[in-house]
Amino acid sequence: MKDRVQSNQSESFRRSSRRRFLKSSAVLAGVASACSDSQTVVDPNPGTLGVPASAYGQRSEFETSVRQITPSATPEAGASRTPLDDSFGVVTPSALHFERHHAGVPRIDPTQHRLLIHGMVERPLILTMEEIFRLPQVSRIHFIECSGNSGSEWSNPRPNAQGSHGMVGGSEWTGVPLSLLLSEVGVQNGARWIVGEGADACRMHRSIPMEKAIDDIILAYGQNGEAIRPEQGYPLRLVVPGWEGNTHIKWLRRLMVVDQAYMARDETSKYTDLMPDGTARQFTFTMEAKSVITFPAGGKRLDGPGIYQISGLAWSGRGLVESVEISTDGGRSWLEAQLQEPRHPIALTRFRLPWEWDGQEVTLQSRCIDETGYIQPSREQLIEVRGLNTRYHYNGIMIWKILADGSVENAYA
């Protein structure tokens, strides 16, 4: 009863202080019309108990942000995109993390799952998940980006950030360093590559050079504090920091140590960049520096002139985002955005910049500069060098156009 009284008192205090705040705001603004939606808010359900505790939480029923599923004649070999334009901060909720599958999401019982490590090793091993859990673990925050992300922007620009840039996500990944397992099995002389293979129906596999394998790859079983979601590779996946998403083999069931690249379908016929001269670039692993403004972005509408907070995400497969610059005058001048700290290497980095819109048509664009000094190129620069025949590894500057009515669209559309 005492609690109840205190609660009522504090509720009444909150209401009165809100009234005071609104009143003073109105005085400061000096415009009565500005208060049209500033009437006193009354609790619509006084005395109504909420729901009890729940075993596994759900988001509010009022939240509607979802992944956008790409239409496909073969939906099991399909994709969904992260709603970047609704995101805060630098972590992508696991349930909203983009997907790219080649034969659907397998249903894997972790007690039945095995990882086989063999090939050019001294001591081939087969491991259960329980055994993998006993090995020393690390947690790191990294982005994963499909190398087809923004592929539409070469020639078929999408109307919003989810469509154009939604095949990237940022997570905390927990697992075992691959280098530890490789020293456990003993890599033989002459071994130059590893082949990772998934337990999806198509047993998707990729070749990865040994230098990367012993550098920073993680065999991950944790994502954002819980077990990896099935669509992200449950119970075990590779996280290959900074490299194209397709190399981060999900549902990992085999590592084979070999002397050369194994020329998998997904490193020859797919994920290679066809150049104007007819040659194709192969093993273009690193996802280069990139950024996108997620507000104001395509599909949003500004509610009249005034102050807004430009916000967006930047990342680089080569390390830290050093700075992000924003231009509101078609690239003639650039303003440095604030970066959310702490920044993590090879991770989504949130940038923000307050900006006043004067109500005129204007373009907004951002460019990422990473710790190597690499500057995100323009779309025109990319096309000049690489032509229009590849669908992969696009990292051109994204330009949003704000129309006089406040609506926002892809400037290239």
Binding site: T74, L135, V195, H205, A264, T268, S269, Y374
Partner: protein, 189 residues
């Protein structure tokens, strides 16, 4: 007295730390986790075939046998002659298109290794029932695809010995990643 107690405590701590370190070292590099796989287990994971084809299993398949398998298991998605359809990529044609404005990347015009076709058909096809073709059927389908693309003759039979010797038309079409190819220019002041 408190000083002596602290000193004793400190010495105790050091002893524990040294013991713990030795214990850790004793476990390195072997954590003793997992066990060696049996040969049967390794075989049950099936093969991953590299460009030299040394993992190719015994078996063989003729072009004509491949036409039959293809019509039953592949044509629904890829078209009866591999021309492509709603669900499946074109597998035939495209020669000479890679420098044009509408490049057609097929097994014939783009794929650099015949061994990759075998590996991919074996592991991932047919799309709705991957891994259900016999090794002989996989050889046959690969033979049929090579024939459709004019790479081998109609009477040929493919096997582990001759498949890696097939030279694909675009075998030398791939170059290593030269990036960063742009993006490192000095910023305007």
């Amino acid at each position: 007295m408190p000083t002596r107690k602290a000193a004793a405590g400190f010495a105790g701590c050091v002893c524990v730390m040294v013991a713990a370190t030795l214990l850790l070292w004793g476990q390195l590099p072997g954590y003793g986790v997992g066990r060696p796989p049996t040969l049967e287990e390794i075989e049950s994971w099936d093969v991953i075939v590299g460009p030299e084809g040394k993992e190719l299993p015994p078996g063989e398949g003729a072009v004509m046998a491949g036409r039959e398998v293809f019509s039953l298991r592949c044509a629904e998605c890829h078209g009866s002659e591999g021309q492509g359809a709603d669900k499946g990529d074109a597998l035939v044609g495209g020669e000479g298109t890679l420098t044009g404005t509408r490049p057609l990347k097929t097994v014939g015009s783009y794929w650099p290794y015949a061994t990759t076709i075998w590996d991919y058909v074996n592991r991932a096809m047919p799309f709705d029932r991957p891994g259900t073709l016999t090794h002989d059927q996989v050889y046959a389908v690969v033979a049929f695809l090579l024939y459709l693309n004019g790479i081998i003759g109609e009477e040929e039979v493919m096997n582990a010995a001759n498949l890696p010797l097939v030279t694909m038309p675009n075998r030398n079409g791939f170059v290593p990643d030269p990036r960063p190819d742009l993006g490192e220019m000095d910023r305007a002041p």
